[in-house]
């Protein structure tokens, strides 16, 4: 069983990213289920997408990932990655974006939330096993891609290129071409190329 959790803030594109992973799993002939956060939380709240794949031929019964069983967490926002760490398995990996999104509650507080603080805490949390944490310089990569909307693809490509998942960059490319509207395929393929080098 392969469990991948995608997390971020409403509007960042986790839903499409989950679809792309599901498509890649389907191409492999694996049973797959996904679950989304849709509704009030999409208005700037924390959102989580679950992707569960029976990569050893198992049947997937439930769509949600249990605590301590995520093989990989892909965080579109660092504090959201930190928030769902209890879901990470003992040898799971966290792939996180660096750019923080400051909620209004934090802007109102005397000590506004800074992404750098969370990244520092994450580095500390993974001190014993630093290879389980991948910090993606999303701002720089997206500048090269030329469109911030490609954040989801940049993160997926970063996650796949770690080699921790039984999915290849070519699997990702193929799935993107099925799931993304034709007008945006080239942009997303470019995002993959920028993320893996």
């Amino acid at each position: 069983m392969l469990n991948i959790m995608l997390t971020g803030v409403g509007g960042q594109g986790t839903v499409l990213a989950a679809k792309v992973l599901a498509q890649a799993a389907q191409e492999k002939g694996w049973h797959v289920r996904t679950a989304e956060t849709i509704g009030m939380a999409q208005r700037g709240g924390s959102v989580v997408s679950h992707v569960r794949m029976g990569n050893e031929g198992e049947e997937v019964f439930a769509p949600l990932i249990a605590k301590g069983t995520a093989d990989m967490i892909v965080a579109f926002e660092p504090a959201e990655g930190a928030r769902v760490l209890p879901y990470l398995s003992r040898d799971g990996m966290l792939v996180t974006a660096t750019t923080a999104i400051q909620p209004v509650t934090a802007a109102l507080s005397p000590n506004p939330y800074r992404g750098a603080h969370i990244i520092k805490q994450l580095v500390g949390a993974f001190e014993a096993e630093p290879d389980r944490l991948v910090i993606v310089p999303d701002a720089a990569l997206l500048k090269r891609v030329g469109n911030r909307k490609a954040l989801n693809t940049v993160l997926l490509a970063s996650a796949v290129s770690t080699g921790r998942l039984p999915l290849s960059v070519d699997d990702l490319r193929a799935a993107i071409q099925v799931c993304v509207k034709p007008a945006f395929v080239d942009l997303n393929l470019k995002a993959i190329d920028e993320a893996i080098f």
Binding site: V9, G10, A18, K19, A22, Q23, Q26, V32, R33, T34, A35, E36, T37, I38, G39, M40, A41, Q42, R43, G44, G45, S46, F61, A62, P63, L64, A66, K67, G68, A79, E80, A82, R83, L85, P86, L88, R90, L94, I101, Q102, P103, V104, T105, A106, A107, L108, N111, P112, Y113, H117, I118, Q121, L122, A125, F126, A128, E129, R132, L133, R148
Partner: protein, 659 residues
């Protein structure tokens, strides 16, 4: 046939179309909205032939439209969220007595948690109350199969049928083979046929009909146990031996969680070298009428049964009643015995530990695992990476950057200043006006209640101005009776209509005020002003919520009037329009006073304590996130120093906001 990744809601829409549904109607509500939207999309794409699909004004209207279609012999699909059934219940209770002709299926989506709702009510209970059968899917695949079976069941027994998915079935996805094109079943050529002894509900007919209902319910219960089409939803699995005394019964998504949890318990027991006792598992996919024969087969030889379900203890009650009636000696464990969560969502981890406890395994597994790890290095016991939750920003849902509601709330607060007032909110995005720093609403109950609650408050607490906020879709869905009541009974209230030209919270659905229908027609939009005037509101003002000063003037005028008055704030939802040029902070002017943040709380405005400028010293400065800002310009009107500006290059008239 095409293989597609479909959400449960999309799959149910396909199922209804494949079953030949002719009329589809509902009212948006999370987590149900995507069913009607999918039908509309397939219809617009020319793939769903002969179907009529609509967003009705509210749930009651939708169900009554469908009942008319049913009497003419067509198949109909109704969709809503759990509380929507409260609105439609008047129609449902009676139409079950009248009995249906064309198959009538109600998909009512429950929301354990609740994630996007006011209550955790259980539609399975509602079904039993209404004496209507209910099917309860554990997966999107079952939801798809159940919708198809529901149409046949409905026509066979002349009964409405409820299919009750929950959020995690509605919004979970799996791959489906679906038909590329569908055709509605033609209704009988004669159409509606007059039959006064059946279609008109009089007391004598109701008495007769009640007998018919009482007769068909046990027949359906029998079918649920014995016919393969339904028995597949009441599956029994025996494991770890042939003569179990332990049973586990589950319904809905909890049945899927329980199977996952059982797999986890097996793995843990195996790792610990502990034997699992024999047990039997049953999913009850047809909770009402209770499939007694299938349950009897499940319960044979059992002494204890743990029941896992969300929301109410429906299966737990039904199982205990069945055991009592049949003198079966069975101890039923569940919510009522504090052995299952009494509310909120279930999850796999929690169910697994409850099953271990129920089967008497917890202590043994923990002991064995501890013994086996003692010999190993300390490494295995090192703590998992964690970040303490207190250091993480809380992230409640908020009004979007540029949301016109923000301007309306701000204008009302500015107009009232220290005038005592009660702000009655309602259901929609604008409920989010409760949060800091706006803190603009004081109450929220149910669709349309703000307008009428304000009237009750004005009677008893006349010292406070009674203000009611209502969105445009809610206005048409449930607001109009309250307007008439205010004028008729002479209540002094002011209604703030937040008209953003869509049903925003549920994903931008059209409504009567837009004139746009799901069939692609553009009808004359209903005028909110005309409705207010017709309902006796003699003072109606218009305002652009993103124009601060004129909005404040409009609010003052309306509030000062004694008697029912209204302000219609008109500005489209940001999801409907192209963003304008993001504003910027002039770092030479910004003093770091934070007023833009503390007054309106826009998510696009953050505070950078390390930013330095001529007038801000080391206080820090406001910063605009250009990726979030959509250029609504409200903050430029709020900043006392005019430090937030529309950049010259993108603006036709900088400073024009003052005009």
């Amino acid at each position: 046939m095409t293989k597609k990744l479909l959400m449960g809601n999309e799959a149910m829409a396909h199922a209804a179309l494949e079953a030949g549904v002719r009329v589809v109607a509902g009212y948006p509500g999370t987590p149900s909205s995507e069913i009607v939207e999918t039908v509309a999309r397939l219809h617009a794409a020319g793939k769903a032939h002969d179907v009529h699909v609509e967003w009705s004004t509210n749930e009651k209207a939708a169900l009554e439209v469908l009942f008319g279609a049913s009497l003419a012999g067509a198949r109909g699909l109704f969709t809503c969220k759990q509380m929507g059934l409260n609105v439609a219940s008047d129609a449902l209770m009676s139409l079950n007595y009248v009995s249906v002709r064309g198959g009538l299926v109600l998909v009512v989506a429950d929301d354990p948690g609740p994630i996007s709702s006011q209550t955790e009510q259980d539609t399975r209970r509602f079904a039993a109350f209404a004496k209507v059968p209910v099917l309860d899917p554990a997966t999107p695949e079952q939801a798809y199969a159940m919708v198809k079976e529901a149409f046949d069941l409905s026509e066979r027994f002349h009964t409405p049928v409820i299919v009750r998915p929950t959020t995690r079935v509605d919004h979970a996805s799996a791959f489906f083979d679906v038909q590329d094109e569908t055709f509605a079943l033609p209704a009988p050529e004669a159409g509606f046929e007059r039959d006064v002894s059946t279609w008109i509900i009089f007391p004598r007919r109701a008495y007769e009909a009640h007998g018919e209902i009482n007769e068909r319910l046990p027949q359906m219960a029998h079918a649920f146990s014995t016919e393969a089409a339904f028995a597949q939803f009441n599956e029994v699995i025996t494991a770890c031996g042939d003569t179990p005394t332990f049973g586990i019964m589950a319904g809905g998504i909890s049945a899927a969680y329980t199977r996952e949890a059982l797999r986890m318990v097996h793995q843990r027991a195996e790792a610990a070298g502990v034997d699992m006792p024999p047990y039997r598992f049953m999913q009850v996919g047809t909770p009402y009428p209770f499939p007694a024969d299938a349950v009897a087969a499940f319960a044979d030889g059992l002494g204890d049964v743990l029941v896992i379900e969300e929301l109410d203890y429906v299966l737990e009650d039904a199982l205990a009643a069945w055991a009592g009636r049949n003198r079966v000696s069975l101890t039923v464990h569940g919510k009522l015995t504090d052995e299952a969560r009494d509310r909120g969502e279930n999850d796999v981890d929690d169910i697994a530990s409850r099953i271990e406890r129920f089967l008497g395994l917890s202590g043994r597994i923990r002991l064995r695992l501890r013994e086996s790890s003692e010999g190993e290095s300390e490494q295995a016991g090192s703590p998992a990476p964690a970040v303490s939750p207190e250091t993480l920003p809380v992230r409640p849902p908020v009004l979007c950057p540029g949301c016109p509601h923000r301007g309306a709330f701000y204008a009302v607060k500015q107009a009232l200043r220290k005038t005592p007032a009660v702000m009655c909110g309602d259901i929609g995005c604008y409920t989010l006006g409760n949060a800091k720093p706006l803190e603009a609403i004081d109450t929220c109950l149910c669709m349309g209640a703000g307008i009428t609650m304000a009237q009750g408050l004005s009677i008893v607490d006349p010292g406070k101005k009674a203000i009611a906020y209502v969105g445009d879709s809610t206005f048409f869905a449930s607001g109009m009776t309250g307007l008439a009541n205010a004028a008729y009974n002479g209540h002094d209230i002011t209604v703030m209509v937040l008209d953003n030209a869509t049903t925003a919270m549920t994903g931008s659905q059209p409504h009567p005020g837009t004139g746009i229908t799901l069939m692609g027609d553009r009808n004359q939009p209903l005028s909110i002003e005309a409705v207010l005037t017709a309902n006796g509101f003699t003072r109606v003002y218009h305002a652009d919520p993103l124009d601060k000063d004129s909005s404040i003037v409009a609010v003052k005028a309306a509030v000062e009037f004694e008697g029912p008055s209204a302000v219609i704030f008109e500005s489209p939802c940001i999801q409907l329009i192209k963003p304008k040029v993001p504003v910027v902070v002039n770092t030479e002017i910004c003093t770091g006073c934070k007023k833009c943040i503390t007054e309106i709380g826009c998510p696009a405005i953050a505070f950078d304590p390390s930013a330095q400028g001529m007038r801000s010293g080391d206080r820090g400065q406001a910063v605009i996130d250009a990726a979030l800002c959509n250029g609504c310009d409200l903050c430029t009107q709020v900043c006392p120093f005019k430090a937030i500006v529309v950049p010259l290059s993108g603006s036709p008239a900088e400073g024009g906001q003052d005009a």
